[in-house]
């Protein structure tokens, strides 16, 4: 189910502005890959190219190749909508649909696509997804209450349940814990550990301890300079990146000499 992502020579643009320059990397299936780097260095922008969410912004485009197993997601006959069904995403700010109940939020992927589903099947999917997101016990008695009434951490886990309910093969997480307290963060990190058995997970984080805790591999991004595009500096096993990175820039960043 989980798929490998192979990026080669990817340039990311906003109009004429080159935001991320020449990234090539391989993201392994059934593992957690963390993107770290200072603000504005393009890691979120790069993450959003992996499910073609980048091009939602007017004028945004990319150059290069992103292979999902053996399919080029930027191929000429590829529908971005299908790509996004395959590559799910969790955002920095929890964004449950305010017009929907908790139950409807979980099956939103099917509901919004007008897919018919028997009640029993939907019930089963809701329970499975919410259990998968470690949220079932907390909300099982109020599934028909609005999703926006949950706490921030619960909302974020609801969003994860919603993303996994469409059964993608890759899950992108854009700073999923940056607005959460330590307890909720811990809950989400536990969840990431559990999810990596089934999914390819890519997580952007500002928190280096978090990257060290949850990820198997880490990629460090940095700006070439003010006004210059972001670049991938180094990628490798998390242990290695945090103990003896190859690049001086990486060492400066992880030891807190800048950023």
């Amino acid at each position: 189910m989980a798929k490998r992502i192979d990026v080669s020579g990817l340039h990311v643009y906003y109009g004429d502005f080159l935001a991320v320059e020449d990234v090539s990397m391989t993201i392994e299936p059934r593992s957690v890959t963390a993107f770290i780097g200072s603000s504005g260095c393009g890691k979120s922008t790069f993450l959003r190219t992996l499910n073609r969410m980048h091009e939602v912004t007017p004028g945004a485009r990319v150059d290069g190749k992103v292979m999902l197993d053996d399919m080029d997601i930027y191929g000429p006959d590829v529908d971005p909508v299908e790509v996004r069904r395959e590559v799910g995403m969790v955002f920095q700010k929890a964004n449950p649909f305010p017009t929907m109940s908790i139950y409807d939020n979980v099956i939103a992927g099917a509901k919004l696509n007008n897919k018919r589903m028997s009640k029993a099947k939907a019930d089963d999917l809701v329970e499975r997804s919410l259990r998968g997101a470690n949220l079932w016990e907390e909300v099982k008695d109020r599934l028909n209450k609005p999703g926006a009434g949950l706490s921030g951490g619960q909302q974020q886990r609801l969003c994860i349940a919603r993303a996994t309910a469409v059964e993608p093969s890759v899950l992108l997480m854009d700073e999923p814990c940056s607005a959460l307290d330590p307890i909720s963060t811990l809950a989400i990190e536990d969840l990431i550990h559990k999810l990596k058995e089934e999914y390819t997970i890519v997580i952007v984080t500002h928190n280096m301890q978090q990257a060290a805790r949850v990820s198997d591999r880490t990629a460090f991004f940095n700006l070439a300079g003010t006004g210059k595009p972001g670049r991938l500096i180094e990628m490798g096993e998390t242990n290695k990146i945090f103990t003896k990175p190859d690049e001086q820039e990486t060492e400066n960043y992880i030891t807190g000499r800048f950023g």
Binding site: V81, R84, R85, F91, N95, P96, T99, N113, A148, R162
Partner: protein
């Protein structure tokens, strides 16, 4: 790094010896404003009475001025200058509020008192068919029918056009075309209603030949006035829907059009209904274009928008006032009250609908 020592030094300077400043000031008792207001009212009415020029308006003005002077003076004496300023601004704000509310209240009470004398079941269910202008009979039923039919059709025309335009502008519109549409919508907002009426008269003349006035023409002229209002208000409401919700939907593999239909519109539905109701309320009272297009002399009940003249409430009021008799004035007031009640019902429905659809945050 070197700058971090700075705030510390200024901090210690602040703690240095300084003249003790009292944080306490006296304060006027809580009942002071009410008491002063009552006093001002009594004093100013008495004074005006003594001068022999008592009038409700002058008395009110004098009370307001006297109240402001006394309360600010008292506050400056007992409290501190900041509180005195606060009292002054509070008085001015309330005064402005009263000045804005009084005409409205006066209008509503006048229409109600004048209109209620004739507004009854008979008036609402009988037309003016066969009633001579000065006869003490007849009613407004045909005008209600006309108003409902014409504004209904205007709504049917302009709500889809307005909504789709707004969706285009917010979700798809880029570049020149979107800018041009926005510009022309703004221009349309400023079209005088009589011009909209003339436009439709000319259009009907061209399409159906001279002498053709009917309800549909009235509805089209109202739609010309209503569309820009619907576009502008819907556009604002759709822009308020957070981009994150659209992205959340895209991330689930939902196509753009389904995202708009099932996420954006439902999230904005409360605001959209309010905007549409406001637009309806704005055109329901239009008179000039209807006189030109739907006719002003119909007396019989006519539900057919495409055949014959159609009376409507504003035009009914206009033609009755022009006749000038006492009975006619009574009819005009009663029709005005009917119109206001219809608009209020519209607003009530709008509030109800918004409350029903508004995103809920309860637990």
């Amino acid at each position: 790094m070197t700058t971090t020592t700075r705030p510390k030094s200024t901090g210690s300077a602040g703690e240095g010896p300084q003249t003790q400043r009292s944080m306490r000031t006296g304060s006027l008792p809580r009942y002071a404003p009410a008491a002063v207001l009552a006093g001002a009212a009594v004093v100013s009415s008495a004074a005006l009475q003594a001068l022999g020029s008592f009038h409700l308006v002058t008395a009110g003005l004098a009370t307001a001025v006297l109240y402001t002077v006394v309360i600010v003076g008292a506050s400056a004496a007992v409290e501190n200058p900041r509180k005195a300023k606060d009292r002054f601004v509070t008085a001015v704000v309330y005064l402005c509020f009263a000045a804005a509310m009084l005409p409205l209240l006066s209008l509503l009470t006048t229409v109600f008192l004048e209109g209620i004398t004739r507004l009854d079941g008979y008036f609402l269910t009988v037309s003016m068919n066969g009633v001579t202008p000065s006869m003490d009979a007849g009613g407004v039923y045909h005008a209600i029918v006309g108003t409902i039919a014409i504004t209904g059709m205007a709504a049917v025309i302009s709500i889809p056009i307005g909504l789709f335009t707004a969706v285009y502008l917010v979700e798809y519109g880029r570049g020149r075309l979107a800018k041009a549409i926005t510009f022309f919508v703004d221009v349309m907002t400023g079209i005088p209603s009589i011009v909209a009426g003339l436009f439709v008269v000319a259009l009907w003349m061209m399409l159906f030949g001279p002498g053709n006035t009917n309800g549909a023409a009235g509805a089209v002229s109202l739609a010309v006035l209503m569309i820009p209002v619907v576009v502008r208000s819907s556009e604002e409401m759709l822009r308020l829907v957070p981009q994150e919700l659209r992205e959340a939907s895209y991330a689930l593999g939902v196509p753009k059009w389904l995202t708009i239909v099932k996420v954006v519109l439902p999230t904005a539905v409360a605001g959209l209904t309010t905007g549409i109701m406001l637009a309806l309320a704005r055109v329901i009272g239009e008179t000039a274009p209807l006189v030109l297009t739907a006719g002003s002399s119909a007396v019989a009940i006519n539900w057919n928008l495409f055949n014959g003249q159609m009376m409507s409430l504003p035009v009914f009021i206009y033609s009755q006032v022009r006749m000038g008799g006492a009975v006619n004035m009574e009819r005009a007031w009663a029709a005005a009250l009917t119109l206001i009640v219809i608009v209020m019902l519209l607003f009530l429905t709008a509030r109800l609908v918004s409350r029903l659809f508004a995103p809920k945050l309860g637990r």
